[in-house]
C-alpha cells in the first residue's frame, strides 16, 4: 500500500461551506496579512501555504469515502458516501471512459451517508468496468438496489452497466483480496458496522468508522486494541467529544477523539486520523478538536509519539 486519499470525511450528512463562511476565511486571511507585501505569485503562495487549514481551506463536506492506493492497477475504496462522486470523476479523467477498471469497494455498513454517493459514481454506468463490493452485511446488495429505485432515485439500479459483484465477508477471518490481507471486526453501531484491517507490503491501514466503544467492556476494548495493533494508520470515528459520546449521545454509535488516542496508544499504532466529523462542526471547531487531541496524546504518551491528524477532503497520507 502506497497512499491513503480522502474523498469524503464528514459524518452523517454532507455539508458545504457557505458564502458567509468563505467570506470569514478571506477576512481572517487578509487581517493576518496586515503589513505584508506580495510582489510575486510565490509570495502569495508562501503566505497561503503558511495559513492554518481552517483559514486557507476547509475540512470539507463529502460523506465517507476513502481510497487506498495499493500500487496495483485496480482501485481500493472504503465506503460509497458522497465523496465517491469526485473520486469517480477523477478516475474517469485519468483513464477515460473506454479503459475498463476494477474497483474493490469495502463497505462499513449501509447507512445512508455511506451509500448515497453510489448513484453518482459514473464508472458504475460504464460497461467493462468491474465493481467488487465487499461487506459483512447480508443486506448490502439490497440496500444499494433500494436506493436506486422509485421513489428514491430516478435512475434504476438496472441502468448500471458495469459488472457489479457482491461478496459477504466473515469477520475475524483473514481474507486475501486485491493483493491485501483483509480482516473485519464487528462494531457497535445501529444495525452493526464493520471495521477493516488492510495489510500489504509491510503496511497496515485500519478503517474503523461508525463505531461506538463501550468503556464498560474491557474485553471489547482489548479486541479493538488487537485489531489496531501496530497499524501504520488508524482512520477512526471521532465524531463526538467523550462527554457527549457517553451521555446524551450514548448508543448513537460513534466515538470520541480521547478513546481514539487511548486505543491507538495501547495498540502501538503510529498515526491516528480523526474521521467522520460531526456535520455541525465548523472548520474552526474541528481544528480545535485536532489541537486538543494532540495535546491529550502528549499528556498520555508513554512510548513513541502517536501522530494525530484530522482527515479532510483531499488529504493524502503517504504510507
Amino acid at each position: 500500500m502506497k497512499r491513503i486519499r480522502f474523498w469524503g470525511t464528514r459524518g452523517s450528512l454532507p455539508v458545504a461551506l457557505t458564502a458567509a463562511g468563505v467570506r470569514q476565511k478571506l477576512v481572517t486571511a487578509l487581517r493576518g496579512a496586515n503589513g505584508r507585501t506580495f510582489v510575486t505569485d510565490r509570495d502569495v503562495a508562501d503566505y497561503v501555504n503558511g495559513l492554518d487549514l481552517h483559514v486557507c481551506g476547509t475540512y470539507g463536506g463529502h460523506s465517507s469515502c476513502v481510497e487506498i492506493e495499493t500500487g496495483e492497477p485496480h482501485y481500493v475504496l472504503c465506503d460509497l458516501g458522497s465523496g465517491v462522486r469526485p473520486f469517480g470523476e477523477a478516475a474517469l479523467a485519468r483513464h477515460g471512459a473506454k479503459a475498463p477498471q476494477t474497483y474493490h469497494i469495502f463497505m462499513s455498513h449501509m447507512h445512508w451517508d455511506h451509500i448515497m454517493g453510489f448513484p453518482f459514481f459514473a464508472p458504475a454506468y460504464i460497461p467493462g468496468n468491474r465493481l467488487c463490493i465487499y461487506g459483512g452485511h447480508a443486506a448490502l446488495e439490497g440496500a444499494l438496489r433500494r436506493q436506486q429505485s422509485p421513489p428514491s432515485f430516478p435512475v434504476d439500479f438496472s441502468a448500471l452497466r458495469a459488472t457489479i459483484e457482491f461478496f459477504r465477508l466473515k469477520p475475524d477471518t483473514r481474507h486475501s483480496i486485491a493483493g491485501m490481507t483483509v480482516t473485519l471486526i464487528r462494531q457497535y453501531h445501529s444495525g452493526d458496522s464493520y471495521g477493516y484491517r488492510f495489510e500489504s507490503g509491510g503496511r497496515t491501514v485500519v478503517y474503523s468508522t461508525d463505531s461506538e466503544h463501550k468503556l464498560a467492556d474491557p474485553q471489547a476494548s482489548e479486541a479493538f486494541v488487537n485489531f489496531f495493533r501496530d497499524a501504520d494508520v488508524v482512520i477512526f470515528d471521532a465524531m463526538y467529544s467523550l462527554a457527549d459520546a457517553i451521555s446524551v449521545k450514548a448508543d448513537w454509535g460513534h466515538s470520541s477523539n480521547l478513546v481514539g488516542v487511548e486505543l491507538c496508544q495501547r495498540a502501538s499504532a503510529r498515526h491516528l486520523c480523526l474521521f467522520h466529523h460531526e456535520p455541525a462542526s465548523s472548520d474552526e471547531t474541528i481544528a480545535g478538536v485536532l489541537k486538543d487531541t494532540r495535546r491529550y496524546e502528549e499528556i498520555t504518551r508513554t512510548a513513541a509519539p502517536l501522530h494525530v491528524s484530522a482527515a479532510y477532503d483531499g488529504m493524502e497520507i503517504d504510507l
Binding site: 469477520p171 475475524d172 464487528r186 479486541a223 501496530d230 467523550l242 462527554a243 480521547l258 487511548e262 498520555t300
Partner: protein
C-alpha cells in the same frame, strides 16, 4: 459470537501495558455538614477504574439527604476515559436524586483532560475544596473553616 469483536492479532500484546498491575485506588472521605468530600489519589485508568467506582459508590450512598458531593482531585495525577465514565455515572446518580456533584482542586493536567473531554461542560469544577463548598453549602463551608488544614501549625 463475542460482541462487538473478537479479533486476535497475530502479534502479541504490548507486554508493558499487558503487565500493568491493577492498582487499588486510595479514596478517603470527609464530611462537612451536608456535603461529603471524597479524595481519591493516584492515576485512574483502565487498570483500576472499576476499583475507583467500587470505592466511590458507597461514599455516594452514604450522603446526607439532599446533600452535595465533592470530589477533591488534588491527589489525582491522571484520569483516562474509563475513569471519566465513572464520573459520568456518578453525576447521573446524583442528578437522579436531585443532588449536586462537583470536582475540586484538579491538578493542571487533569483539568486539561476534563476540558479536552468536555467534562467541564457537565460537571462543576472549582479550583479548591473551599471554593466548591462556598458554592454548594454555607453550612458545609462554615464547618470546613473550623477544621485545621493540613500543614497548619
Amino acid at each position: 459470537m463475542k460482541w462487538p469483536g473478537s479479533y486476535n492479532a497475530p502479534a502479541g500484546l504490548d507486554q508493558k501495558r499487558q503487565n500493568a498491575k491493577t492498582k487499588r485506588m486510595d479514596l478517603s472521605t470527609r464530611r462537612f455538614a451536608d456535603v461529603v468530600v471524597a479524595e481519591p489519589a493516584g492515576r485512574i485508568d483502565y487498570t483500576n477504574a472499576e476499583d475507583f467506582k467500587s470505592m466511590l459508590w458507597p461514599a455516594l450512598a452514604h450522603q446526607p439527604e439532599g446533600g452535595a458531593f465533592v470530589l477533591d482531585f488534588s491527589r489525582v495525577s491522571y484520569i483516562s476515559s474509563v475513569g471519566l465514565r465513572v464520573l459520568m455515572l456518578a453525576a447521573k446518580e446524583m442528578k437522579a436524586e436531585q443532588r449536586k456533584i462537583a470536582i475540586a482542586a484538579p491538578q493542571p493536567v487533569v483539568r486539561e483532560i476534563l476540558e479536552i473531554s468536555r467534562f467541564n461542560l457537565i460537571l462543576a469544577i472549582f479550583s479548591s475544596v473551599r471554593e466548591a463548598l462556598a458554592q454548594l453549602s454555607p453550612a458545609a463551608l462554615a464547618a470546613y473553616d473550623t477544621v485545621p488544614k493540613r500543614g497548619a501549625a
